[in-house]
């Protein structure tokens, strides 16, 4: 009996001691990583969040090259920002046909995408990965938040300077949304996370928002910064780019504003042409003074299956090209994907042009049957992107997988050609514009012998095809000239078959992914889809 009492007492004691103390055990937090409060209490963490926003353009997740993706629903390597942007801008056009049969790629080649196309979705969700990240940063970097946290004046001033960069990056992603999707969800730092479904903004209103944002930060953002970060030149170039296609976005042309901003970049930005064209696309292109805004990559520390790693590997294929010593491309093996069409190749009449980078050995140019879409050896690959430095050294990754070369999102040659086009359209100084075109041609040919005597908007478009090939501009350019859809310009596989066909105008905009139409009642699908 005594034992029983002792036992009962123990039992009761155990229950009464364990029960309340255990309730605290329900408040558990991850041992590694930080929660949102802890991150922003330390001013030193802001630059790492800023780095993530920049890196959102470069890598696909928080583990290089893959393994912890930012967005889901597509293969991680496919989901990288530059890669999906490039696919939408180039594979949909005459410039590139991709031989792979992975989901979504044949439809991009043939302009037969639907609202469930995985690349269309990946681009959309990449954009809307960047924007909430920017919004969160801007909320947490607001003056009142920093005051609450008792940051020093020096810290506050530093973090304020990050804010204009973040606003630039948000405007850049909204620019891509406006150009590719038109009428899209609109969220700013005013919209709390996880709150109601975002409102829809129409294309013209989004144009106004981007313009106002860029103008607001133009005076704040420094003219010069560390390599890799946005500067005044980048802001002004982006303004020039939205003005260039303003008629497409708003119905009103803004070529003179475009010319104005191009002139600012050219005259005040301090940029200069890289003397050798090839060097702009090589592993040490970070040294170039021509690049206005790069997306940086590194074979050791910024690894991805997208970006320039994709651009370099994907254009290498076929026996003769694969047999080239790896010290030429600086990568171990090709992926046999991207090559061009005869229609695009027609822009390159001269073999002396340094920009004529077609690889012909083992390749045939003309497509004569539909099945050749999947055969890399038909069509000409453009051997432009390489992982070799200008002095011939191989990139930093000894395994030959990941590429060091940076991607020039904006560079001076584009600004030259934008100005020239505006001038040819009567919105700038034609003499200056002609000079800019010839500056590029002189670099390409090595002398002035091939300079042109006059420019038209169409001749500038051809010059853009040569100068800016495989840099992600093609679709936007063709749309501005009314050539992307309709029947005025036909290229292989446009509309589906190797012979090409006219396609309906609604394809000028990509569809809003059906997954977001389902999730957000405020959205309206673009017409035609």
């Amino acid at each position: 009996m005594k034992n029983k009492l002792i036992f009962s007492a123990m039992l009761l004691a155990l229950v009464s001691v364990t029960t309340p103390s255990c309730f605290n055990d329900l408040d558990l937090e991850p041992a590694y990583g930080l929660n949102s409060i802890a991150v922003y209490e330390n001013p030193d963490n802001y630059i790492h969040v800023l780095a993530k926003i920049y890196a959102g353009l470069a890598i696909s997740g928080n583990q290089g090259p893959a393994g912890n993706p930012d967005i889901l629903g597509i293969d991680e390597g496919f989901s990288q920002y530059v890669r999906v942007l490039w696919n939408l801008q180039e594979i949909s056009t005459d410039a590139v046909k991709c031989a792979w049969n992975d989901p979504g790629i044949p439809e991009l080649n043939k302009m037969q995408w639907s609202s469930t196309n995985s690349f269309v979705n990946a681009m959309y969700y990449r954009i809307y990965f960047q924007i909430p990240l920017c919004n969160e940063f801007l909320r947490e970097a607001a003056d009142d938040k920093m005051d609450e946290r008792g940051f020093s004046e020096a810290d506050k001033s530093l973090i304020r300077s990050y804010r204009s960069e973040v606003r630039f990056l948000r405007a850049l992603s909204y620019y891509h949304a406006m150009d590719l999707f038109g009428n899209v969800p609109f969220v700013t730092e005013e919209n709390a996370l996880g709150a109601d479904a975002p409102k829809r903004i129409v294309r013209a209103d989004l144009f106004d928002y981007i313009e106002s944002e860029l103008k607001a930060i133009e005076s704040e953002i420094p003219s010069a910064n560390e390599y890799g970060r946005a500067t005044k030149g980048a802001v002004q170039t982006l303004l020039a780019r939205i003005y260039l296609n303003a008629e497409v976005y708003t119905g009103t042309n803004r070529y003179s504003d475009c010319a104005t901003y191009c002139a600012k970049v050219i005259n005040e930005g301090g940029y200069s042409l890289e003397p050798v064209y090839d060097h702009l696309f090589m592993a040490d292109n970070h040294q170039s003074n021509e690049i206005i805004f790069p997306v940086t990559f590194d074979g050791m520390f910024t690894q991805t299956f997208g970006g320039t790693t994709f651009l370099t590997h994907s254009t290498i294929g076929g026996d003769p090209m694969s047999a080239i010593d790896s010290s030429y491309f600086g990568v171990q093996f090709g992926w046999g994907g991207n090559r061009s069409t005869p229609q695009y190749a027609a822009n390159f009449p001269d073999v002396d042009d340094a920009r004529n980078m077609f690889f012909l050995d083992g390749q045939t140019l003309e497509f004569t049957e539909d099945a050749q879409l999947g055969q890399f050896v038909v069509g000409w690959p453009i051997a432009k992107w390489r992982n070799i430095t200008s002095t011939g050294a191989v990139g930093s990754d000894a395994t030959g997988n990941y590429v060091d070369t940076d991607f020039p999102m904006f560079r001076l040659a584009d600004v030259y050609l934008m100005y020239a086009e505006c001038a040819a359209r009567g919105a700038g100084d034609v003499g200056l514009g002609l000079g800019y075109v010839n500056a590029l041609r002189e670099r390409a040919y090595g002398d002035a012998a091939n300079n042109v005597g006059s420019i038209t908007p169409e001749s500038v478009l051809e010059e853009r095809a040569r100068e800016l090939q495989l840099e992600g501009y093609r679709r936007t350019d063709l749309i501005r000239f009314g050539l992307f859809t309709g029947g005025d310009y036909i290229w292989a596989f446009k509309g589906g078959s190797f012979a090409g066909a006219s396609v309906p105008e609604y394809l000028n905009l990509f569809p809003i992914p059906s997954s977001d139409v389902v999730a957000n009642p405020n959205l309206i699908q673009n017409p035609g889809y």
Partner: protein, 990 residues
């Protein structure tokens, strides 16, 4: 390895020597012979002295002797599964040797058997829920190395699919269909009152694979929510309660030795072109480059990989009592050499159970400890896939090869990176080994505080420590580019449990009622830690720096209660309530309430039925259960994730690591599954025919699914959130027939069947005909291809494909699909919903026969209406898979059927019926009875497992369990084949 063996051997010797040293003073004895109604002697009957825990079991000839220290009056009970418990009271005088022979009465329906339910036991007859109890007698026999295989095909509503033929691979268990899309669909497993961690242990096939099946006394399955709801937020997929064998205080030492020795062979391999067939194809349609690559050999790569597997499983068990300390000690040594060369599992286990009783039976204690050590050698399973299509015209070895002497594809620049590597090189040039130590133990005190009122404390622990290494030498072609591999990993898990509960049972004879009331509190904590290791090459250079270590835990606190009410022995009611609080969810969503209610009516005990001699019970139940196993311990917390060193961004000359907010749902909570069950249990013709029939419906709300969220509202595009609903509706039935039951002959058989229909009923906020659903089911071939979809109105993981167009003679036309929306474009809008991988109907059939000392039995199992995507044919039976240059690959024979030149990966041509009938087991046994002058009993048996499979499926095996965490069921990629196993088993009782 050797040390452990010595340790075990010494322990056995010590125990054996120690036993006879105990000499007992005896005042009186009770002895006799126990028989069944047919007059046959019954060995193994438990004879217990009530209130003391002392007792014995009857010998091989049915005889028993019970010794008493003092004269007096005693209550003695005789129990044996399948027979009525018999109790007698005897009075012994000092020095008396009383004789008492006894005939036990049959209890064919086991109505009087106490069935373990959560937090207590209930007599089978008094059960109100859908509960199945399977005891040793009905377990599958043969080389059963993991516990769940004991009940394969034996229980309606339970589908068990072994993951593969790999040693210790474990199984996927589904009870009445899965209730979830992205959370776990595994049932909760409780061993001796300790819910175990169902997630895998690194370096081990599966959580259950470490438990010795020989240790298990019975397995109870709580199928419906009225039974399972006492386990609250983890019980949505049912509960499996495993009870291990216990000792009791017999003065005699019982030793049981059993051994099973088996060999295993591969029965089927992927049908591929022979070397000559490939030469024909390439010489006919190949390019000159391809033809130049052909070799002269005739290598059957798949056969090269496999060997005769050997399994030996040896158990020795000591049981008895030291004074009033009943004990049972089991030692096991198991070695399984898989059919894939170099795969091996060694397991050594010891389990000890002590269950002494104190205070004149008022305090019952129970201690169970199981310790296991396993050594695993994992073969490179990549070799299985590579062997399918490695060029058969090439040799295995190449004397000139610098890659360890294995033939490899090379060009002028050396090894061709994209080319497949020699399958035997993959297998032999990789040492992938692990060892796992695990301890599962509990200590339970049950004190009768007042009359009929018990207080119970149960403390449990489940700990594991595992580590492994992967070593690939520098010359191995597979990792040549990095200079080999020298990697390691480690994991520790600590799971703790503390339960305190009270139980009150009272017969209220005045109102012809009995109540049984239980209420308690439970605390459980799961902790896992994995250090981060850099990935190294063979020389020790870092290839990938160490990532971020893992340390994660979660806690569950619960209160629960149950009332069983029995009126007039005919009307039964069970009500339970559980409240769970989980650290996985925010304070606002942390607590959940899970009620249940069930009633039963024993119709056959009504007066109007009293003449029928029939047994008939109606049951109806309702319950709410939850699911909180979502593979993430902190889903509601806004976490910032630090990037690895290979994911940094450069500003100027400095690389900065990245801080990324992870997408999250602050309001995430558990799924709730509401279940309804109506059932009937019956037995007639003198209980020779018995069975049950159940109808059920399970509705899961707040379904946890990873879905796209409105763009711009979170830090990623898809998050795991509570959205939508899913239903499982089904019927299950089982019938057992005792066809013959004579003295020298018996025949018994059983059949069970289950029809289950699964449908997603809601998954989005807005309906849009353009949005078909969420693509899932990643497949090989290309990048990012999926073959399944989660869509409203369809079963989970429904196949989503193009509809193949066939020509007049029935051959598929390459590249032609039905243009479903007639827009002249074949794109994602033309994909159609097809079949799904889960069976519409599955069934088991088993029979056992005895004649004199011979026994024989078999079990068959079938699944019908399930479909499979043949990913092997879709990627390897296509000419495109023979590359254009540099190297060559073989084709599967499906190429001769389809003649596809390019990948048609999303074609429904590759969706095949995977219905099958499999004979899991056939056995013959002989019982020698007593041997060694009556001092021992010996029985032997011969068993064949996986005897045959009948299926229209063209691949190797129609049963595909799918990947981890519910991913990709019904997709046939390369697969470790399930072997056919022949075993000889012997059991010696001393």
């Amino acid at each position: 390895m050797k040390n452990v063996y010595l340790l075990v051997r010494n322990a056995i010797v010590l125990v054996c020597m120690a036993m006879p040293a105990f000499v007992w003073g005896q005042a009186a004895t009770l002895s006799g012979i126990i028989t069944d109604p047919l007059g046959q002697t019954l060995p193994g009957v438990t004879v217990l002295l009530d209130g003391t825990g002392q007792g014995t079991i009857s010998d091989i000839d049915g005889s028993y002797t019970l010794a008493f220290d003092n004269a007096g009056t005693y209550t003695v009970s005789y129990t044996y599964i399948g027979y009525m418990k018999t109790t007698t009271t005897i009075t012994l005088t000092s020095g008396q040797n009383m004789k008492k022979d006894l005939q036990l009465q049959e209890d064919a329906l086991l109505l009087e058997t106490a069935v373990v339910v959560g937090y207590g036991t209930v007599k089978s007859k008094d059960l109100t829920g859908s509960i199945t109890n399977v005891g040793v007698k009905d377990f599958q026999t043969g080389a059963v190395t993991t516990p769940e295989q004991l009940i394969v095909g034996k229980v309606s509503g339970v589908q068990i699919t072994s993951n593969s033929g790999m040693p210790g691979a474990g199984s996927r268990i589904r009870i009445r269909g899965g209730t979830s899309l992205n959370a776990s669909n595994d049932p909760l497993i409780v061993i001796d009152g300790v819910p175990i961690d169902n997630n895998g242990i690194s370096g081990s096939g599966n959580a259950l694979s470490l438990i010795n099946p020989d240790d298990i006394e019975n397995i109870t399955i709580l199928k419906d929510a009225s039974a399972a709801a006492i386990y609250g937020s983890r019980a949505a997929n049912g509960v499996i309660i495993v009870t291990t064998k216990k000792g009791f205080a017999d003065k005699k030492l019982h030793i049981n030795f059993s051994t099973t020795n088996s060999f295993a062979t591969v029965t089927k391999m992927v049908d591929v072109l022979t070397a000559d067939e490939l030469r024909d194809v390439i010489n006919t349609q190949g390019s000159a480059t391809q033809q130049a690559l052909l070799g002269d050999e005739n290598t059957d790569w798949q056969s090269e990989l496999y060997r005769l597997g050997i399994v030996t499983d040896n158990d020795i068990t000591f049981s008895g009592g030291l004074k009033n300390l009943p004990y049972r000690l089991n030692l096991e040594y198991m070695q399984e050499q898989g059919v894939l060369d170099r795969s091996q599992l060694n397991r050594m286990g010891a389990s000890l159970s002590l269950n002494p009783t104190y205070l004149n039976g008022k305090l019952k204690t129970e201690g169970n400890g199981k310790i296991f050590h396993t050594d695993n050698a994992f073969a490179d399973q990549g070799s299985i896939g590579t062997a399918i299509t490695f060029d058969p015209t090439q040799p295995v070895y190449d004397a000139a090869s610098i890659y360890g002497g294995y033939y490899e594809w090379q060009n002028a620049g050396g090894l061709i990176n994209l080319a497949p590597k020699n399958p035997l090189g993959l297998l032999n040039q990789r040492d992938d080994e692990s060892n796992v130590n695990r301890f599962i133990g509990n200590l339970k005190f049950d004190l009768e505080l007042f009359k009929d009122f018990h207080g119970i404390i149960n403390g449990g622990i489940d700990m594991s420590r595992s580590n492994g290494t992967i070593v690939v030498p520098e010359e191995a072609a597979n990792s040549y580019i990095n200079g080999g591999v020298n990697n390691q990993y480690e994991q520790s898990k600590n799971n703790k449990l503390l339960e305190t509960y009270f139980n009150y049972r009272k017969d209220l004879n005045k109102i012809k009622s009995r109540i049984d009331f239980t209420a308690g509190y439970s605390y459980q904590n799961w902790f896992r830690e994995e250090p981060a290791f850099a990935s190294l090459n063979f020389a020790g250079d870092t290839i990938t720096p160490a990532g971020i270590p893992t340390e994660t835990e979660n806690t569950l606190i619960s209160f629960y209660g149950r009332v069983n009410y029995n009126l007039n022995q005919k009307y039964l009611l069970t009500a339970t309530l559980r409240e769970d609080g989980s650290s996985r969810f925010s304070p606002d969503n942390r607590w959940g309430l899970f009620p249940s209610l069930a009633v039963a009516w024993l119709v056959s005990d009504e007066k109007f039925m009293s003449k029928s001699k029939m047994y008939l019970k109606f049951r109806a139940g309702y319950g709410v259960t939850g699911q909180q196993d979502i593979f993430n311990d902190y889903p509601y917390i806004a976490n910032y994730d630090s990037s690895t060193s290979t994911a940094q961004y450069q500003f100027g000359d400095v690389f900065y690591y990245l801080l990324r907010p992870d997408g999250y749902d602050p309001n995430i909570k558990w799924e709730e599954t509401t279940s309804y069950n109506i059932g009937i249990d019956f037995g007639f013709a003198g209980d020779k025919i018995s069975g049950s029939l159940d109808f059920y419906k399970k509705i899961t709300d707040d379904l946890l699914a990873t879905i796209p969220i409105p763009a711009g509202t979170n830090f990623t595009n898809q998050i795991l959130t509570n959205v939508g609903s899913m239903e499982n509706t089904g019927v299950e039935a089982n019938i057992n027939v005792i066809a013959i039951n004579k003295k020298d002959m018996g025949l018994e058989f059983g059949i069970n069947g289950t029809i289950n229909k699964n449908e997603i009923t809601n998954l989005t906020k807005i309906e849009d005909p353009n949005s078909p659903g969420i693509l899932v089911g990643g497949i090989d071939g290309g990048v990012g291809n999926t073959i399944q979809i989660q869509s409203v109105g369809y079963a989970s993981n429904t196949f989503y494909t193009y509809e193949q167009v066939y020509d007049e003679s029935g051959n598929p036309i390459e590249g032609e699909y039905v243009d479903q929306n007639n827009d002249s474009i074949i794109n994602a809008d033309d994909l159609i919903f097809g079949e799904n991988p889960t069976p519409d109907f599955y069934a088991g059939f088993y029979a056992s026969f005895r004649y004199k000392k011979w026994t024989a039995g078999f079990s068959l199992r079938g699944e019908f209406g399930n479909h499979i995507y043949n990913n092997i044919a879709s990627t390897r039976g296509v000419y495109q898979n023979v590359p254009a240059s540099g190297y060559m690959q073989n084709l599967t024979s499906d190429y001769l059927e389809s003649n596809f030149q390019t990948y048609q990966i999303l074609s429904d041509y590759y969706i095949e019926s995977a219905s099958f009938v499999r004979m899991d087991n056939i056995s013959v046994g002989y019982d020698f009875g007593s041997v060694f002058k009556g001092n021992a009993g010996l029985s032997v048996s011969a068993i064949c497992q996986n005897v045959f499979v009948i299926s229209p499926y063209s691949g190797v095996d129609p049963e595909i369990a799918g990947g981890l965490n519910n991913t990709a069921p019904g997709i046939d990629k390369s697969f470790y084949p399930r072997p056919r196993i022949f075993s000889i088993s012997a059991n010696l009782k001393l």
